[in-house]
Structure formats: C-alpha cells, structure tokens
C-alpha cells in the first residue's frame, strides 16, 4: 500500500515541521524580537526566566495555554474560531517547499514540487483570508478596520512580491526551489550578485534591485513595522486579533512568525544561494576576520561598550569573526565543504530575520496612503522594469 506509506510520511513530516516552526520560528522568534528590540531601545529585554531569559517564551506559551477562550457575544462564533487556524496552517504549509540543505546527495526538503515558489506565493496569499475573517467575525470596529487595512495592503504587496519571485524564476529557468538553488550552484554565485554567464557580474544592479524589492514587499506581506497598519497598537489596539485570547492569540503569533521565517527562507533560496557555501579565497576570509575583529575591538575598548544600542552589532561582529575564522582555516586546509549546508542555510535565514527585526525597531510606521503609494508607484514599476530589463539582457547576451 504505497499511498498508506505516503500518508504516514506526510503526517510525520507535518509533525516535524509543526514542532520545528512552533519551537524555532515562534518561540525563538519572539525571544529574538524582544531581545533585539531591547538592545535597539537601550533596554535589556527578557532576563529572568532561564539563562539570559531564554525560557521566557516557553513560560509565556504555558501561560497562554491555560487562559480561557473567550468568544465575544455578538461574534460569528464559527468564523471567529476558524480564522486563527487558517492563518497558522497557511504559514506552516509554506514550509513544505523550503529546502534546508543537503545530506549526502539528498536535499532536505519535504517535497520538491515543480511549482515550488508559486506554491509559496499562493500559501502566503491564503493567510489574508484568515486575517480578514478574524477581523470581521470579532464584531469589533478596531478588528474590522485592521482586517480591511490588511486586505488592501496584502493585495497591493502581493504584486511586487510575485514580481520578485518571477525574477528569480526567470533567471533560474525553473519554479522549483531546489532548481533555483541548483542554478545558483551552476553559475557559482548568488543571484543577488551575479547572473548566469556570460553576463556575470554585470547582473549586480538587477540582482540587488530584485532582492530589495522582494524584501520590502515581504516585510509588508507579513504585516511588520514599518508596514504593520493592520495591527497598529497605538490606533487599533491590536487590529484584527484584538478580541482573541489564549491559544488562539498564540496561533496568530505562530502564523505571523512562521510566515516571517518563511519569507526569510525563500529570500535566502532565491537571492542568497540557499544552502550553498560561499566560496572565497582564504585571504578574503582573513580580511573579513580582521574587519570583524576591528569592529569588536573598537566597541569593546571605547565608551561604546556601555551603550546597549551597539550590542547587536557587537554580537554580529563576534559571530562573523567566528564564522570567517573557521572558514579561513577550512579553505586553507583545502576542504571543499567546510561547514554543513544546513548551517549555512540557517545562518543566512537568521541574518535576514535579524535584518527584518532591525528594520522593525528602526523605522516608524507608514501612513496608509504612503503605504499604498510605495507599493503601486515605486515597487510595482521598479519590479516590472527590472523584470523587463533582466529579461532583455538574458535574451540578448545570455542563453
């Protein structure tokens, strides 16, 4: 019975993905968010539960599990209860097509379907149904306003997002996530910096433009500051999930963080080479090491050490130092693969997650008209022109 085995495999993988996301994306994500926001705002962040507050989110989750489920009196109970599940499941389904790395010759991916990135975009667009349903069924004007804002925002930003995905698919010549990474392996560098030969490094402006467009649209698509109008705390309380309590509230959080990590993962795959290891000469790695050392030394020896604001930079410099030192000795020793591919994928993904959090705590929220202007008058024309120009270059000089 091959279909029974398939079914069992699917259930097993679903459990694995769910636990990975619930633990890593939601819990670690919330913890990182609070810690980084603390540093950026010159606070300490969570500190008391576990070493450096590491278990804070676990405690919060246990607390949320014990809370009563409250359904507002005039709410549409059925839709109200289904909405958080739609958001969480759509976010979890994103992860089916994400390849995490390579183990021998096997790619670590749940299913490498040949419409991979299209599937990802489709799942991302289903989330908004859950958000709108939650906003409407709460029977609360703030929730409804949040849901409406979210609808207009996500429909607007889906287009630049899709243009970014289309760009990567066009350059790679495939929609499969594994195929896109393989195309970057074949050309020897990330799509952000290089297009397939003979264009090579001349593709730099196209790649950078495409990745910036995609990242901006992705930030808006997951409703994060500076695009968090659907849940703007200062004007809408919490927007579309204002009425949710306990674990249903946590499901919205899980969906949001799962989606954010998913966007970071897809950006890693499309523009930053996925699980592949960057190939630099040993002296280049040494230069990176020295650069990190200088930054860390300047922070540690001057008065900057006292400022909490530079803590993220100090931490990044420390991590970069460690990584580049290992890579330096590894490449000197002539190893073809110094670190496991899974580690590279996670490192790139978390770097992007850090970037998104950095953006969140640095920029103020946009107004709704600014938000729509950015999408329709800046990102959409830029994305289209970039697609057209890249297509032209690829047709004339490539292939």
């Amino acid at each position: 019975m091959p279909w029974l085995i398939e079914l069992l495999k699917a259930i097993g993988l679903a459990v694995v993905i769910f636990t990975f996301l619930a633990v890593v994306a939601a819990m670690l994500g919330v913890y990182l968010e609070r810690k980084i926001s603390g540093w950026i705002q010159a606070r300490l962040g969570p500190k008391h539960i576990g070493p450096q507050g590491l278990l804070q989110t676990v405690a919060d989750t246990v607390k949320l599990l014990q809370k009563e489920h409250i359904t507002p009196r005039h709410a549409d109970a059925l839709i109200f209860n289904v909405a958080p599940v739609i958001v969480a499941v759509a976010a979890l389904l994103d992860w089916v097509v994400i390849p995490f790395g390579k183990l021998g010759d096997r790619v670590l991916v749940v299913r490498d379907i040949n419409i991979g990135v299209l599937y990802f975009a489709a799942m991302a667009s289903v989330t908004v149904v859950g958000i709108i349903a939650g906003g409407w069924s709460s029977n609360n004007k703030y929730a409804l306003l949040g849901g409406l804002r979210s609808a207009s925002q996500m429909i607007s930003y889906e287009i630049p997002l899709a243009l970014g995905i289309l760009w990567a698919a066009m350059v790679a010549g495939t929609l499969s996530t594994v195929g896109i990474v393989d195309a970057q392996v074949r050309q020897g560098s990330w799509f952000m910096f290089k297009l397939p030969s003979p264009i090579g490094w001349f593709g730099l402006p196209f790649g950078i433009l495409a990745s910036l467009t995609f990242l901006t649209a992705a930030t808006a698509e997951v409703n994060r500051v500076p695009f968090d109008l659907p849940e703007a705390e200062s004007e809408l309380v919490a927007g579309y999930f204002a009425e949710y309590t306990g674990m249903r509230f946590a499901l919205f959080q899980l969906g949001e963080y799962g989606e954010m990590f998913g966007m970071a993962a897809v950006a890693t795959i499309m523009f930053f080479g996925g699980w592949t290891e960057p190939h630099l000469q040993p002296y280049m790695w040494l230069l990176v090491t020295l650069g990190c050392l200088v930054v860390a030394a300047v922070i540690l020896t001057t008065g900057l050490r006292q400022t909490l604001l530079v803590r993220p930079i100090l931490m990044l410099a420390g991590l970069g130092l460690l990584l580049s030192l290992v890579m330096f000795f590894g490449t000197r020793a002539g190893l073809s693969q110094v670190l496991p591919s899974l580690m590279w994928f996670l490192a790139k993904m978390f770097a992007l997650v850090f970037f998104l959090m950095w953006m969140r705590w640095t920029y103020p929220r946009l107004r709704l008209d600014q938000l729509l202007t950015l999408s329709w008058k800046v990102l959409l024309p830029l994305g289209l022109l970039n697609l057209l120009a890249t297509g032209f270059v690829l047709t004339v000089w490539g292939r």
């Binding site: 799942m123 149904v129 409407w136 207009s152």
Partner: protein, 163 residues
C-alpha cells in the same frame, strides 16, 4: 480505488460549500465558503497533474478574488447584514432555466464519447502553458489583457465621479 476516493472527497469539499454560497443568508459566510470550494477545485487540478493551474487557482481565486469580494462587502454600507435574502420573485423562472440547463448538460454528457485512454503529459507544464500563451493563443491573451485594463480604468472613472 484511491483515486476514486480522493475524487469523491474533493467533490464533497467543492460542492457542500458551494451550496452554502448560494443559500446562506449571511453574506460574509457565503463569501468565505468560496475558499473551500476553490481549494477543492485545486485538489481536482492536482489530481489531473496540472500543478501550475492548481497553484494559480489558489493564488488568484482563494487568495485574491475571495479577499476582493470580502473587501467590497465590508466597504458597502449595510453590506455585512446577516439577513440577506438570496431569493426573489423570479424563483420559478430561474428553476425552469436551471432544470433545462441540467437536462441539456446531462444529454451532452451521456451522448459524448469520452476518450478514456491515458494521454501523454508534457514533462513540465509551466513551459507548455507559457509557449501556448505566446504562440497559438497570443491574440486572445493580449485581448484579455486589454479588457482587464479597460475595466480597471472604468472602475477608476466611476469611483472618481462621486467627488
């Protein structure tokens, strides 16, 4: 056998919410019921191994069209009323038309000789779809784009007139 079971389940997933869409007096529920209907159709596309069409179905119909409908309902004054009658005085006329259409369809279905032999699938149907759009069907494709553009401009003109 497994395929038949999958088809049955998908048909139910498609048809039961579809009945809710046309009978529910709560217009938001009716609009939200479109989502499982569209997802059921997606499942049928996957069974036919048309992955690209399935992906587009979720992206456009479940993700965008439903949201647009909900958006319009919520922006319309009194539009979210939960006591909307979906029937009017023309029920007998509509029923007659429906029965006649069903009769014609059943006659066509039973009289057509359906080829049951398995065909050959293109290896990667995204490429096939793209080639078809830009070679054999390029005129239809372009005209459809113009129609969409015209409706977009028309919507803006109508919306502008009010102020």
């Amino acid at each position: 056998m497994g395929e038949l079971a999958a088809f049955m389940i998908l048909s139910l997933v498609t048809l039961i919410p579809a009945v809710v869409v046309v009978t529910s007096s709560n217009i938001v529920r009716a609009a939200l019921s479109l989502v499982p209907t569209f997802l059921g159709v997606t499942g049928l596309y996957v069974m036919l191994q048309a992955e690209f069409v399935a992906g587009i179905q979720v992206l456009i119909y479940a993700g965008a069209i439903t949201v647009l409908i909900l958006f319009v309902i919520m922006l319309t004054e009194g539009g979210t009323g939960v006591r909307t009658r979906q029937l009017n005085d023309q029920v007998p006329l509509g029923a007659m038309a429906a029965v006649w259409l069903a009769f014609v369809l059943i006659v066509i279905f039973t009289r057509t000789g359906w080829p049951t032999a398995a065909g050959v699938l293109p290896a990667y149907n995204v490429v096939a779809v793209g080639n078809a759009f830009l070679s054999d069907y390029v005129l239809i494709f372009e005209v459809t784009s113009v129609v969409l553009l015209v409706s977009l401009v028309g919507a803006i003109v109508i919306a502008r007139r009010e102020d």
